[in-house]
């Protein structure tokens, strides 16, 4: 077993453990912290798979942006002492059965499909080592060539702008109750 395998299995255990914690912890803030842990160990997995830029974006945007935003929202909206009750036990059982069935379905597709085991086009090792780097990704993202991603890039920037404006207009305090909702 090579050192890469060892790191992969350690990382997989971390990812799975923190994922289970994130869905099972009762306190929302604890769940958000477990989510942060899961995303962080996923960034480690990306590093193992030679996707350095994706790992960096994961840490900076996902953990530094989205999860911190979730934590802020929890802190802004927490009624101290008021907890949302758990679902009915029968519903929880149903959720467990549904998730297990889903997992079984995915694994069955994995074991029977195996379409990717056909000899696939495999990138050369040198190309693979460069593929996740900042330079390659930057060139591909902004090139207008047929294999470039310029148009999706611009569409995503429009979408982000729209989401930003929408979020501000939804979360804005309605005119007239200035200072009333503050604690």
């Amino acid at each position: 077993m090579s050192i890469t395998d060892l790191l992969f299995y350690a990382d997989a255990v971390l990812i799975l453990g923190s994922t289970v914690l994130a869905v099972s912890l009762r306190h929302v803030l604890h769940a958000a912290l477990a989510l942060m842990m899961a995303l962080f160990s996923t960034a480690g997995l990306f590093l193992l798979l030679h996707a350095e830029f994706a790992a960096l974006v994961q840490v900076m945007v996902y953990i530094g942006g989205v999860v911190i935003f979730i934590v802020y929202t929890i802190l802004l909206t927490a009624h101290l002492g008021e907890e949302v009750p758990r679902s009915h036990p029968a519903k929880q059982l149903g959720a467990l059965i549904g998730a297990l069935l889903f997992c079984a379905l995915l694994l069955a597709v994995l074991w029977t499909g195996r379409a990717w085991e056909a000899p696939a086009v495999h990138a050369a090792d040198a190309a693979l080592a460069q593929a996740g780097g900042v330079k390659t990704i930057g060139r591909r993202l902004l090139s207008a060539a047929p294999d470039g991603f310029l148009v999706p890039f611009e569409i995503v920037s429009l979408l982000l702008l729209a989401a930003l404006v929408g979020a501000i207009s939804i979360a804005r305090k309605p005119a007239g109750d200035r200072g009333e909702g503050e604690k």
Binding site: F8, T42, G98, A167
Partner: protein
């Protein structure tokens, strides 16, 4: 470490996300479960890009697009949460009668 082990890991993470989404009632818990499911999808993209792609860069780029889309989604969703809280609505999805349409 091979492709199958990565895919199994992603499948398990995704199933955990499905379980959390069906089980929890707090709206932020459900959003967290959605994040976990997207995380599993990103693991799949990166794994396929690393093990079975003529063009491994595209895998990273798709992952970055997913992250951008997720941040847009979370911005809107959390704005809705803050708006609900401001109007004194419960953050329990089974009691959000006003959103039934």
């Amino acid at each position: 470490m091979n492709l199958t082990s990565c895919l199994v890991l992603a499948a398990l993470v995704f199933a955990c996300g499905v379980f959390g989404m069906l089980r929890n009632r707090h709206i932020i818990n459900i959003l967290i479960s959605i994040e976990l499911m997207l995380n599993a999808v990103m693991i799949n993209f990166i794994a396929f890009a690393h093990f079975r792609a003529a063009d491994p860069t595209a895998g990273s780029i798709f992952t970055i697009f997913i992250i951008a889309l997720t941040s847009a989604e979370m911005a809107v969703a959390l704005a809705v949460v803050i708006s609900l809280y401001r109007q004194r609505h419960p953050l329990d999805v089974e009691r959000m009668k006003r959103l039934h349409g």
